[in-house]
């Protein structure tokens, strides 16, 4: 049953990708991609619930459905679904119908590679899946073919490839340290590595873990390896920005979490955790500084992603059931909320014809419903109650105190407040600020009507974020406890 669902979930985007390549029609591409995303979502939901029944292994142990992987799959499925709906409306506005088939083929291919990375049970294959996500998404980042997009794509592929080559080195060294325990040839599954970890050489494990952390940290966008992220996120089409931010970053974070649990099993893990927490604090700091003085509306969202990946790093770095539960909840909430923010930014960019915050004025007056949705999302993403991110951030804060990372918690609190003020200040300008050049700007831009495709996914994203803010389902909490248990205890 699990195997069949997993197969269907993988086949759906693969078929959509192939069919778009063959048929090459823009309308067909958007339909089949939307259909594939619905299939992925419908299968991901039960898979996440079933994943508690123990890791299911397939294909000679190369594929696994386990608790942490299934959660990333769920987050990916949510963002893929929302982004596919949004893409229908948004991509039509671009007026590039003749190339849209390629966009949808790459889009479903991109979703497929992220889903693949979550079910790889082998550290080497996981690395390959992450490398594939980079290759596929590079062409999506550069899809608009403006000089800025090509620049962003180039920086993205060079920086991320160089970064994750460090992760490959770390993976090879992990394999080497395992070979002292398990013999020269063994399957490099996560479980094998973790079970062998207590007998591995501590110095070698630290070296390998740090290499892996910096390597996949580049892909996650942890500062100071984040420099590709604002460029790639701001220059790609809005649905892709949402996928990069809400799905891809989680997929790479999963690798860090898995290697952290190996490094944890090898020794007391203080150094491994402290390194992750330090990256988290630096990411929050860099995010805060660049959010306060930001000119581009999508770059604002991108730096907010750096910030939230920092929060995730803090949650997983603090560890313990509380930290892991908070981080997983934050992952889902961030995926929903950041999709909403990028959709709103894309809509605003299209209707005001500019990426600059300074050119966007009077959003409320022009688009009341859409403006209200986007503003609610902005309040949510900065961690204001009553939205989900408030709850998850509070849980992570508590976890930090409990696990003796007080310094990091205070830094996080101060930086979150700075981000709250800085982020919402930009929204105040965009909604209520008087424009410097008076009425001149409104006349320069023609009014673009936003279709329902562009608004509906924003509702679909906002409602769950609000619900998760007032009601944390008990079953979900139990599920997180099971994930935390799976990450901290040795597998049979």
């Amino acid at each position: 049953m699990v195997g069949a669902y997993l197969l269907i979930m993988m086949l759906a985007p693969a078929v959509a990708c192939g069919a778009s390549f063959v048929i090459r029609s823009p309308r067909f591409g958007e339909q089949i991609n939307l259909l594939a995303s619905i299939v992925v979502f419908v299968t991901a939901l039960p898979l996440t619930i079933w994943s508690g029944g123990g890791p299911y292994r397939f294909l000679n142990d190369y594929v696994v459905l386990d608790l942490p992987g299934a959660w990333v799959i769920l987050c990916t499925a949510v963002v893929y679904g929302l982004a596919s709906i949004y893409a229908v409306g948004y991509m039509r506005l671009l007026g590039e119908d003749h190339r849209l088939w390629a966009f949808y083929a790459l889009f479903s291919g991109f979703a497929l590679t992220i889903l693949l990375s979550a079910i790889m049970n082998n550290a080497g294959l996981y690395w390959i899946a992450i490398e594939l996500t980079t290759l596929v998404s590079t062409f999506l980042v550069g899809f608009e073919r403006a000089p800025e997009s090509i620049e962003a794509a180039w920086k993205y592929i060079i920086l991320v490839s160089a970064g994750i080559s460090l992760a490959l080195l770390g993976t090879v060294l992990f394999y080497w340290s395992g070979s002292f325990v398990l013999g020269p040839t063994y399957p490099m599954t996560w479980d094998a590595l973790r079970n062998a970890a207590p007998k591995m050489n501590a110095a070698l494990v630290v070296l390998s873990y740090l290499l892996v952390l910096v390597g996949y940290g580049t892909k996650v966008g942890l500062a100071p390896m984040h420099s590709w992220l604002p460029d790639a996120h701001s220059e790609s089409p809005a649905p892709i920005s949402a996928m990069l931010s809400g799905a891809l970053l989680n997929g790479a974070m999963l690798g860090i979490v898995r290697f952290l649990s190996i490094a944890d099993a090898a020794q007391d893990g203080v150094l491994a955790r402290t390194a992750l927490v330090a990256f988290g604090v630096v990411s929050l700091l860099v995010g805060a500084l660049f959010i306060v003085r930001q000119d581009g509306v999508k770059r604002l969202m991108a730096y907010s992603s750096v910030e939230h990946m920092g929060v995730l790093a803090l949650g997983f770095g603090f560890g313990g059931p509380l930290g892991i539960a908070g981080a997983l909840y934050h992952m889902l909430n961030h995926s929903l909320n950041k999709s909403l923010m990028f959709f709103g930014a894309g809509n605003v960019m299209r209707s005001f014809g500019s990426k600059q915050i300074a050119d966007i004025r009077g959003v409320w007056a022009r688009q009341p419903v859409h403006g209200a949705l986007w503003l609610a999302g902005a309040a949510a993403i900065t961690g204001a109650p009553p939205f989900g991110l408030f709850l998850s951030e509070i849980v992570i804060l508590r976890a930090g105190f409990e696990r003796g990372f007080g310094w990091a918690v205070y830094a996080m609190l101060v930086l979150l407040i700075v981000i709250f003020i800085g982020f919402l200040n930009h929204f105040r300008d965009m909604y209520f600020g008087g424009s410097a050049d008076g009425g001149a700007l409104a006349s320069g831009t023609e009014h673009v009507a936003l279709s329902r495709w562009c608004i509906a996914p924003m509702w679909l994203a906002l409602v769950p974020v609000l619900v998760f803010g007032v009601w944390w389902p008990t079953d979900m909490w139990n599920h997180f406890m099971a994930v935390a248990h799976a990450l901290t205890s040795a597998a049979p």
């Binding site: 073919r145 592929i157 060079i158």
Partner: protein, 226 residues
């Protein structure tokens, strides 16, 4: 662990090849001409293939012969050919903008090797492998990594950056042959194929750079800041 009990001949053959490929990395670092990079890269790949074969011979890993053949085919012939085609199409013969003179880059690279040796020595000691070929392999692995990053940092021609990335990967491949010759075959083969796709993607991107940005020097990529 293969490296711990090797007969002296095998050990010196491995050391010779590891050092030869490190020297070739320095040739790349010290050269201005793109063609020289490419030849050095191809030669390095051949050395690594020879290393795979000899590890396979001395360590009794028959599957490494297959890896050696694939390495020669992909990294020794196909990749250099692809990059050569890009060079010919772009008409750039040499690196024009350098942050560091090649001579200074060599000195910085040498410092990187010293640092790698220090790390490898410490790891080797804690594993009880001091004085074996494993320490040398780890040194070469880490220093080729650092040299690759140095090339990425001080060179601006798009092609030099692609070659810098390939040096990064060569270092890992070389070290992996000596340290973990038993690494599953499937993974090594997939990584080889993967590299091919990477270079194909780079080829397309370089075309876009030329068409839409008008230059293949990454110095002209400075629109996106802040």
């Amino acid at each position: 662990m293969l490296a711990a009990h090797l007969d002296p001949l095998a050990s010196s053959v491995f050391s010779l090849m590891a050092i030869a490929s490190l020297l070739l990395a320095f040739v790349m670092l010290g050269s201005r001409w793109l063609n020289n990079y490419l030849y050095a890269f191809a030669a390095e790949s051949w050395v690594i293939a020879a290393l795979s074969a000899s590890v396979g011979f001395y360590g009794h890993y028959p599957e490494l012969y297959l890896i050696a053949i694939l390495t020669v085919l992909f990294r020794g012939l196909l990749l250099p050919y692809l990059v050569w085609r890009i060079i010919r199409r772009l008409n750039v013969a040499r690196e024009i903008h350098e942050i560091l003179q090649p001579s200074s880059a060599l000195v910085v690279g040498a410092l990187g090797v010293v640092f790698s040796l220090a790390v490898a020595y410490r790891i080797g000691q804690s594993l009880g492998l001091a004085g074996t070929v494993a320490v040398l392999a780890l040194t070469v692995m880490l220093s080729m990594k650092l040299i690759g990053f140095l090339m990425l940092a001080v060179r601006h021609e798009a092609l030099s950056q692609i070659l810098g990335l390939l040096v990064l990967e060569n270092g890992i491949f070389l070290g992996a042959q000596i340290l973990v010759p038993g690494m599953p075959l499937l993974i090594e083969i997939v990584i080889l194929f993967d590299l091919l796709i990477v270079v194909a993607c780079f080829g397309m991107l370089v075309q876009y750079l030329l068409a839409h940005v008008g230059s293949t020097s990454t110095l002209s990529l400075k629109r996106l800041v802040g």
